[in-house]
Amino acid sequence: MKGSAVILLGLAASALMIIGIALATPPQDDFDLSNPYWNGLSKFKSRINPAITLNLQQLPSEVNPSSSTLFLIGPTKPFSKAETSVVNAFLERGGIVVVMDEYGSGNELLAELAVQASFTGYEMRDPLFRGKDSRLARIIDLKPSLYTANVSSLMLNCAATLWISTEDKRSEVLAYSSYFSYLDENLNGLPDEGEPKGPFPIIARIAWKNGTLILVSDSSLFINAMIDEADNNNFLSDLAAYRQVLIDTSHWEISRLTLFKAQLTEAYGLAKANEVKYTLLATLAVLTFKLQWVEGKEEDEVEKVSKTHPEWNKELLNKLEELRNEHGVEERREA
């Protein structure tokens, strides 16, 4: 085996192994709709199927905003002007936009939309109404509304709080944290003197043009680890009831693994096309055939004879070979 063949073999085996591992490993990204682990949204996807995943700039033309809910969950990347316009148009046409965020880019979007509300960015804890940890705060103060029907409590995960302008009459707070909640400004996990104490607005509804903007100060409410806690699932059902659900996937940081998997899927999709499939098969067949027939590439005949008879005229031998190739063996035999 030649050196180059060894390298090729090694690289081919590596490529196959990497592709195999990548395909076998489920995505682990936050909010990934295919991520079956605790931080994914696979349960969210399965419960409100069919959900359309989209890039905000490519809102499908057949989408009817007045009967759709657009989820912007945990946006990390900033919103461009064009994307803000899409959200604005979606609201204008009567859609519901649910922005779930704590520290991300949600505020940029709200500022662009000129909404008098924002995510405070401070971690809210509740030492009493909570799960295993005070960051898993439980919300029990919910106002009756279309969006909180059948919801008596919600469990958050590392939530922030909302600031809602009291002057804006279009806004309505739908859920508050308990009196025991506090903003852990110094992040020491304890309620200290001077740290703001609850109740804090957690969910708000803002009547925006023809549509409705719902702000939730926790992006993790519907991740796999939280969707079955308290009445989180009922809240999701209320938001998605009788509506087409759209979820923006273009504002999340995507890991290299997910990107690689997406590219593999794309490549597989392309390779499935008849033209590509059959062309690849033909190329493979040609290569195999060529390799098999050319294996141990024949030594030049003139060289071989020259080695045996170094005294023979090489020029003449070349001419002889040329003449023989021209007329062929069969011809000679017949002759």
Binding site: M17, S61, E62, M226, N274, K290
Partner: protein, 666 residues
């Protein structure tokens, strides 16, 4: 083996390099509840909560306290504290409930004493005493439990104990009140050793049936020790509330007209009460008359309502109804409607009909809602109510599409069809056509036909593609619809790809196969190949003979014999040194001969030159070529007439030049 090791090494290096791909980390903004350790309970928060609950009890707001305590079920309690906290909650709940009951008994007892129902009041106080004892026991348990809870939580019990002490004070206050009320009952109860006189109070009504609002004449008398009590105030109670007072006359009789209140219930009760004034305290005890039952009369109207259309989100919904009593319409009566969290009211018209135009919220895209209609009571007309279920619906559209079964890439496909709506509406609808990933033009149509053109690019891959035509509207009352089908797309450009690949394959095979075969031929062991010489010009036969004659001359002259391995040119080189002057002639002849036997053709000019060269050689060395050597005649019968080689008599071919031996030579 070493090479396989090298391949394995490359594999390892590549896998190591790709590790960050598999385990790439992204920042998280939440914690995994399944993995985080249990956070200890913040004792300060819990204590604050309990202090707040007890505070409500101290303020005698027991229902609120119980409600708050219910919320403790939503606390996260670590396993080691679960029993202590649940026991404390249980005791606190017990104390709250008992104090609440105690307060209720006391209030009832006070009311009964006020109406001189002393025995019943006494029974209530007895119950109150029992609850008090239970509450005191529970408070005592709560106190011990509070100390234990504080110890378990590692905090000071004082704030909680201080609050419990306040609870104790509340219980003591209730105990004192029980004693006071019991003393009052004792005081008011006639008996031996008491100088009090218990008067008798009677009551009558002019009718036991009354319309609402009707004036009712009530009379009676207050008699004590055989005579009527003069100028005493009699209190009249209707439906448990004081409705009026009357003063007894000189005979102790009283009379009062009371208007029957608009109670809108089948019956009510009325009784009279003699309360003691300061002057009567030492002489009489209070007394109450018998209770009269009064049947009330009023009209019960009939309210009906119906939906005139579907409830569509974002549109108004008209509801019709009517209000009547005894089959007579009730005009100008108020009717209220509560639906979708909204309330509206209207008045009935002359025919007793009413109509509501309600806006169905845009957000309500489905579900069933209850619409409640209420007509408030008015005069003799009682209240009426009815309800009906409102199902939110959306207008459905049917789409029929006609599309070709096949289309070529680089052309447009036209999707034609018709939209049929359940209702004839003029609103514009957006119709979008998709074929695979390609979107066609959108149309704004109402009811009717549409035609959408979708351009299929030239590079579209061949295959069956799904096409869809969807209809949507900005208005929420329309339900989006989609119709799908499939089209076969064939792209000439894309088709060329496999054709090209197959052509390449064919070309490669056609080149490789002959080459390989030639190689195989070359590798085969040499077998004598007998080649029949092509017809040669007569002079050529002579040229070969001349060459071999020349070889004999040269070998004789130089002493260098031509061996079988010698080629024509090798032999020329071998004799070059010995031949000297004849070399040029011999070389010319040799090359002509070589061309003759290998190329099988020489020109006449070459042949003439060769013959001339032979003559030069002959003249140079003055040797005559023997026609046939004698030895050869003896040994062999034949020789090659081309090259002159001696051949055995049975030879059919020359083993030097390969030519066939002619029959005539045998």
């Amino acid at each position: 083996m070493n090479k396989l090791k090298a391949a394995f090494l490359i594999l390892l290096v590549a896998l190591s390099a790709s590790t960050p791909l598999a385990f790439s980390l992204v920042p998280v903004r939440h914690i995994n509840p399944g993995e985080i350790p249990e956070e200890p309970l913040l004792s300060k928060g819990l204590m604050t909560f309990y202090v707040a609950v007890i505070d409500l009890s101290v303020l005698e707001r027991y229902s609120e306290a119980a409600g708050e305590l219910q919320k403790s079920n939503l606390f996260y309690v670590p396993e080691n504290l679960k029993f202590t906290i649940s026991r404390f909650n249980e005791l606190l709940s017990s104390v709250t409930n008992r104090l609440n009951l105690l307060q209720s008994h006391l209030r009832r007892a006070e009311a009964l004493i006020a109406v001189a129902k002393l025995q019943e009041a006494n029974a209530e106080l007895k119950e109150a005493s029992n609850r008090l004892r239970e509450a005191e026991d529970a408070i005592s348990d709560l106190e011990s439990s509070a100390s234990q809870l504080a110890k378990t939580l590692g905090t000071r019990p004082k704030p909680l104990l201080d609050k419990i002490a306040e609870l104790k004070a509340v219980a003591n206050r209730y105990a004192h009140r029980i004693e006071e009320l019991l003393a009052t009952i004792e005081e008011l109860t006639p008996g031996p050793g008491k100088a009090l006189v218990t008067p008798e109070l009677t009551i009558q009504a002019n009718s036991s049936i009354a319309w609402l609002g009707q004036w009712l004449l009530l009379n009676g008398s207050l008699i004590a020790v055989g005579g009527g009590l003069r100028f005493k105030t009699i209190h009249l109670y209707l439906e448990g509330r004081e409705a009026g007072t009357a003063l007894t006359d000189g005979n102790g009789d009283y009379s009062i007209e009371l208007q029957v209140p608009y109670l809108y219930k089948p019956s009510t009760t009325v009784f009279a009460l003699f309360k003691l004034s300061d002057l009567d305290v030492e002489k009489y005890s209070p007394c109450v008359s018998e209770t009269l039952s009064l049947k009330l009369l009023y009209y019960e109207p009939k309210l009906s309502a119906r939906l005139l259309q579907k409830a569509l989100p974002g549109r108004s919904l008209t509801v019709h109804g009517s209000l009547s009593s005894l089959d007579k319409p009730l005009s100008n009566y108020e009717v209220k409607l509560s639906v979708f969290g909204l309330s509206e009211s209207t008045l009935t018209d002359r025919a007793g009909n009413f109509k509501f135009n309600v806006s169905v919220p845009r957000d309500l895209l489905g579900g069933s809602w209850l619409a409640v209609f209420e007509s408030p009571p008015s005069g003799l007309i009682g209240p009426a109510s009815t309800s009906l279920r409102v199902e939110i619906a959306r207008i459905q559209a049917g789409i029929t599409v006609e599309a070709p079964s096949m289309v070529l890439g680089g052309s447009k496909v036209t999707l034609q069809g018709r939209i049929e709506l359940e209702e004839d509406v003029s609103e514009n609808l957006t119709v979008v056509g998709h074929v695979g990933e390609w979107t066609g033009s959108t149309w704004r149509v109402g009811n009717g036909t549409f035609s959408i053109e979708v351009y299929i690019p030239l590079n579209a891959l061949v295959g069956r593609y799904v096409y869809s035509v969807s209809m949507s509207s900005d208005e929420p009352w329309f339900s989006s619809s989609v119709t799908e089908g499939s089209i076969l797309i064939i792209s000439p450009l894309a088709l060329a790809m496999p054709v090209l690949a197959v052509s390449m394959a064919t070309l490669t095979v056609s080149r490789v196969v002959p080459r390989r075969r030639r190689l195989e031929e070359a590798e085969k062991p040499l077998t004598p190949v007998v080649v029949k010489a092509p017809p040669q010009p007569p002079s050529a036969e002579g040229l070969a003979a001349l060459y071999w004659s020349a070889v004999r001359i040269v070998s004789t002259e130089t002493g260098v014999e031509m061996v079988p391995s010698h080629t024509v040119r090798e032999y020329v080189r071998a004799v070059a040194d010995g031949l000297k002057g004849g070399l040029a002639s011999f070389e010319r002849l040799s090359l002509a001969y070589e061309r003759l036997i290998y190329a099988r053709w020489i020109s006449l000019k070459e042949e003439d030159e060769a013959k001339l060269a032979f003559k030069e050689l002959q003249s140079l060395f003055e040797i005559k070529v023997p026609k046939v050597p004698l030895e050869a005649q003896k040994k062999a019968q034949i020789f090659c007439d081309h090259c002159g080689r001696d051949l055995p008599p049975e030879a059919k071919y020359c083993d030097r030049c390969g030519r066939a031996v002619e029959e005539k030579l045998r």
